[in-house]
């Protein structure tokens, strides 16, 4: 059964889109990630124009992050104050990101830039994840205790001015690195159509030393608002949010996530991370190949003024 996507302007098989949404939802439930960094490349592989894939991906992340954020809010593992500071950076970053996005689109380098960013980020994050989880599995096999963290190490981040006390997170931290982190993730959200949790969570834990229990909930809180903002601004400037595509992905995604969570609870942490690392690397590799292989046609046509 085919369905016409009004903004992407092409007919697609609804079952493929449903399957894509359900599969990514399943994985996002299993690994506790938003799934935007998988949805957008998959849509591009399925010939959805990257402009539409990115904007629609951001819209889909709103739905997939909301139920997680609600759960964390109920459990009290969401620091609203910390989230708001992140959000200040996130919204300004997203605004700059949209501006870069439109500029790249105008000069015809958007598709290339999106692919390159994905190759770099997926390659780095996937590689690190795989390395770390393989090391953890080796240690477990040899019955060694996990490598101890360097205690009492005075991080440069903690010497910055403008310190604020975040009661829920039980930390006293400068707002500068928090805003900066939110800002960089915001740029990525609008250019790549991702929530950015896969970068934000490790950065909050290892760079800002925020307690692990509030990290996921707080990052989800900021992701919801930044992706919602990005969706609206993308719709207003690039007219590229496909609501039909987004809705199919959302519905399949939230259902898939429920089953993913159940499977994820039965698997061990390092196995889970190794699997996710492999998957992320595979998607990155597929995009890298597409950049290098000789295209079918070296010419392309864009109708309409302005770009």
């Amino acid at each position: 059964m085919t369905i016409y996507l009004p903004i992407a302007e092409l007919s697609v098989n609804i079952f493929i889109i449903l399957g894509m949404g359900a599969a990514v939802g399943f994985l996002s439930g299993m690994f506790g990630v938003g799934g935007g960094f998988l949805i957008t490349p998959l849509l591009i592989f399925y010939n959805i124009p990257p402009v539409v894939a990115v904007a629609t991906g951001a819209n889909q992340v709103v739905a997939s992050s909301i139920s997680g954020a609600i759960t964390h809010f109920r459990r009290g593992t969401l620091d609203v104050k910390l989230g708001t500071v992140l959000l200040v950076g996130g919204l300004s970053g997203a605004t700059l990101g949209i501006w870069i996005f439109s500029l790249l689109r105008a000069i015809g380098q958007l598709d290339l830039f999106i692919s390159l960013l994905y190759v770099v980020f997926l390659g780095t994050v996937g590689g690190l994840m795989l390395l770390e989880s393989v090391n953890a599995m080796r240690r477990a096999a040899r019955n060694e205790p996990p490598a101890p963290r360097k205690p009492g190490h005075q991080h440069w981040v903690h010497r910055l001015p403008l310190k604020v006390r975040f009661k829920k997170s039980k930390i006293y931290l400068s707002v500068i690195p928090i805003v900066a982190l939110g800002f960089s993730i915001g740029i990525l959200t609008s250019i790549m159509g991702v929530g950015g949790g896969f970068i934000m969570v490790p950065a909050m834990i290892y760079l800002l030393r925020i307690p692990t229990n509030v990290v996921v909930g707080t990052s989800l809180f900021q992701i919801i608002f930044v992706t919602a903002y990005t969706t609206i601004v993308q719709a207003a400037t690039n007219f590229s949010v496909d609501i039909v595509l987004a809705f199919i992905l959302m519905v399949a995604g939230v259902i898939g996530a429920q089953y993913g969570v159940r499977v994820g609870q039965r698997l061990r942490g390092e196995q889970l991370r190794a699997l996710l690392g492999l998957l992320v690397l595979a998607v990155g590799l597929r995009l890298a190949i597409a950049l290098v292989v000789t295209p079918v046609d070296v010419y392309s046509v864009v109708m309409g003024a302005g770009y």
Binding site: P6, N59, A236, P295, S300, V301, M303
Partner: protein, 266 residues
């Protein structure tokens, strides 16, 4: 059939014509031929399950030379021209192993779609010069680059690529047998509307040629309006973009929240 009939007529008239030293085309110098066309509708509503269609156009010739008509010296070319827009063609090149869009060229106000029907192959109807003058045919649509194009050495390849890609995408089409004479003065033309036909005011143009020389043309506007839920969404996305964006977010919030309510473990 028509060809055979015209051949018979031509052979019958040949001795008489030769005897009277009368040359075809002479008698029509005084009266110019007329051309009238009509479509069944001036507006086409396209539903969401549209997969392309044929549009029929009827036309009549007047003040024709019966002899020339009989031997098939009149040719009709009918074109459905889409709304005009600027078109940008980009070319990829390998830079450090990666394929990058390096050069581009923008052509001024070219038709978004172009569907042409004729009574025979367009190149047999008249000379390339005449086609270029009138801008008739996929290969003769004027493609004027915007701005500075350097020495213009690659103008040809960009023009060629544009025409090729538009044909590949089904937006530019030609049918050399789409125009048929139903009687001596009446013709019927069928034009292909591609599945991805753009919205807006299209123009139906008919051109009349006599012995390879352009005589006259007629044009009619044709509004193409897409209908259905998909079109409503497209219109909303372009006319009320902020509201549309807010609605997309609202839909996501409801879906996400709804899922957390439905699957809540109590």
């Amino acid at each position: 059939m028509r060809l055979l009939a015209s051949l018979v007529v031509f052979l019958c008239l040949l001795p008489a014509a030769a005897g009277a030293q009368w040359l075809p085309g002479q008698a029509t110098e005084a009266v110019r031929e007329g051309l009238e066309i009509g479509t069944s509708t001036s507006e086409i509503a396209i539903t969401s399950d549209f997969h392309g269609a044929d549009l029929t156009i009827f036309g009549a010739l007047s003040n024709t030379d019966q002899l020339l008509l009989a031997i098939g010296q009149y040719d009709v070319v009918v074109v459905l021209e889409g709304p005009r827009e600027d078109a940008t063609v980009r070319r990829k090149e390998r830079v450090f192993g990666i394929w990058v869009n390096t050069r581009s060229m923008t052509f001024e106000t070219v038709p978004h779609s172009y569907s042409m029907s004729s009574s025979r192959m367009i190149d047999d109807v008249t000379t390339p010069l005449e086609l270029t003058d009138q801008g008739i045919g996929i290969d003769h649509i004027p493609l004027t680059p915007v701005g500075f194009v350097g020495d213009g050495s690659n103008l040809g390849e960009f023009r060629q690529a544009f025409r090729r890609l538009q044909q590949l995408g089904g937006l530019y089409e030609r049918d050399p047998s789409g125009v048929r004479f139903v009687s001596s003065n009446l013709f019927k033309a069928s034009l292909r509307l591609p599945a991805n036909i753009p919205n807006g005011v299209h123009t139906v143009r008919a051109y009349l040629f006599k012995s390879g020389i352009f005589v006259t043309e007629k044009s009619l506007p044709l509004r193409v309006i897409k209908t259905g839920i998909e079109q409503m969404i497209t219109d909303a996305a372009h006319e009320q973009p902020i509201l549309y964006g807010c609605f997309s977010v609202l839909l996501a919030v409801i879906t996400g929240w709804g899922a957390s309510l439905i699957f809540r473990k109590d």
